[in-house]
């Protein structure tokens, strides 16, 4: 990965470098002015410094995230233990065994290696997260740009229908549809979650297209007689890209959590497919019976895998948003 372009190339504004004529009200929480307590002046230089570099933790998250993607793509080339190998084929496997040198994360109730299942589980989470949000962006994003650009009737109709869907509690309807659309599979889950994400993407993209579309350079392009195609792709899209990228990342994290919830309830990708949610679902029954002597590793490692991946995605999304965030007051 190369460095991100400096923000000035994204938001070409002649005023970007010069200080504002009037110190405007700034609601950014990263720049606390003077609440009830006094703050020493050194805090004020902090914000500018921060936006130049993304910080070492950001790159840790990027590396961890890239590692997950790598594992998800190449899990079957890594010479891992077969994640489907159970005591049914090899009775010598330890059942519910603790972490050992052979099974780093222990084994589950069928003697399957948890380490290998956690690594394979990255496939399900990442393909669902990225697949579904991509569907959401392709449909919701396109509609959002179109509605904000055309306005009038089409915008009103689309917005009312999107807000209607948005008012639905998604998980309840997702559960209902997993019950109806049997047998459930990875592709069906991606499609269902993708559809569920459309209204949220629509709202964000429509909002930022509206904001970008009312800027002076878009009006200038319109006055010069630029085609709609040109205005959308050359003027508006580059300006909503930062918002879109960070919302894309946050969407991935949200959908991974949602898929995990479906899996923990047992209605996502059917077992024995290794997925983190499925592993937690299977592990719960063992955690719950305290006298079996089963340790916490059945749910600990898939849970940890969830947390670390989500943390890295959330942090990347949050940092990118912060990095690209040029509030009007700063222009």
């Amino acid at each position: 990965m190369t460095d991100y372009p400096p923000q000035n190339s994204i938001h070409p504004s002649p005023f970007a470098q010069s200080p504002p004529a009037f110190p405007r009200e700034d609601h950014s929480i990263h720049e606390p002015a003077m609440p009830l307590e006094t703050i020493d002046d050194t805090e004020h230089g902090f914000d500018k410094e921060k936006r130049q570099s993304l910080g070492w933790f950001f790159w840790c998250c990027v590396v961890y995230f890239a590692l997950n993607v790598f594992v998800a793509l190449f899990a079957n080339h890594l010479h891992l233990t077969d994640p489907y190998l159970t005591t049914a084929t090899n009775p010598n496997l330890p059942v519910n065994g603790g972490p050992t040198s052979a099974n780093w994360f222990g084994t589950d109730e069928l003697g399957r290696d948890i380490f290998s299942r956690v690594l394979y589980g990255a496939r399900v989470s990442l393909s669902i997260g990225f697949g579904a949000i991509t569907i959401g962006f392709l449909i919701g994003g396109t509609l959002g740009v179109y509605a904000a650009f055309r306005r009038k009737k089409i915008d009103a109709v689309l917005s009312v229908s999107m807000y209607t869907i948005l008012a639905f509690p998604a998980i309840i309807f997702l559960l209902a549809f997993t019950a109806i659309w049997k047998p459930i599979s990875l592709n069906k889950i991606i499609i269902l979650l993708g559809i569920a994400s459309i209204p949220a993407v629509y709202r964000v993209i429509r909002g930022s297209t509206l904001a970008a579309g009312s800027r002076e350079f878009v009006m200038a392009a319109k006055v010069q007689g630029a085609s709609d195609f040109r205005i959308i792709f050359k003027e508006i899209l580059p300006n909503i890209l930062p918002t879109a990228i960070s919302f894309y990342m946050i969407g991935v994290a949200t959908l991974i959590i949602l898929e995990g919830a479906l899996a923990v309830l047992g209605t996502s990708v059917p077992p024995p497919t290794p997925s983190w949610g499925n592993m937690i679902n299977e592990g719960i029954s063992y955690i719950n019976s305290p006298n079996t002597g089963v340790g916490p590793w059945l749910v600990l490692f898939p849970g940890l895998a969830f947390c670390l991946l989500l943390l890295s995605i959330n942090y990347i999304g949050d940092k990118l948003r912060e990095h690209f965030d040029v509030t009007e007051g700063k222009l």
Binding site: P35, Y163, P169, A170, I172, F173, I257, G260, A261, N288
Partner: protein, 316 residues
Amino acid sequence: MGKYLLRRLIFLVWILIAVSIICFMIIHLLPGSPSEAILGTGWTPQGAALLNKQLGLDQPLIMQYLTWLGHVLTLNFGQDYITQTSIASTLKVALPPTIELVVLSQLISLGLAIPVATFAALRPNKLFDKLANLGSFGLLSVPTYVIITLLYIPITQWLNVPNSGTASYVPMSQGLLTNLESLLIPIVALSIGSFVVYFRVFRADLISTLQEEYITMARSKGISRRRILFRHAYRPSSVALISTIGVNMAGLVTGTFIAEQVAAVPGIGSSLVGAIFQPDYQLLQAIVLVTATIVIVVNFGLDLLTGYIDPRISRD
């Protein structure tokens, strides 16, 4: 306010109609005839004929919908042909534990988030604020189902709280204390999940409110900090918090369903998952309808509340 109320009310009715149509269609979207879906494995030609007559399934679709809607509006969800009980009585048993979980976790998380966020916002970027901010950002990435599974060992084995394991649910009628003990893990897990969200939103909003000029003005007049907070800062800042409660409802419902499933609480979530696996489409339909309606109506109430707290919203 009147116009705002009317507009929100129209939207509410419209959404509820949309929800009812989708719930009605659940049975008809299934492969096979509705009688096959309702009777499941107990399907016989005679039973199907009887059912078609009873439920009016031989009528046109729109008539079926209106009849069904009429029944549902009078809370008559009909007979469950799989468990041979009335669906309304199933719901009556399943709703109280779910509502208890939701209400208690919301009270706890809000009761903690408001003072903690205030404390952090009064000294932004100081040690406590930084730690709380960092901790809440980290916890934001921990889904409720991970929190709840990780809570089991500490609470049941290290702290040794009696009756707190799974499958130990005690209804409230058998003593409030044992009931709360049996729900301890789900309540703690749900409270943590909501607390993190509320803390972050309220802290951010309070910091920006405290930078407003009228706060400086009030401060320079010598008004006490307590009075500034309660009279001038909390009201504008609570708008974002209340809208967040509405947004958080979706996550809360998910978390509650999972907590019920994990802790074997016989609530709505457990019934829904049971209905999915049975499959019992009548029960599924009723639960989806009731839960969605409750969530939507609560959101409507929160909307009105924000309109009341900040009149600018309702005047718009």
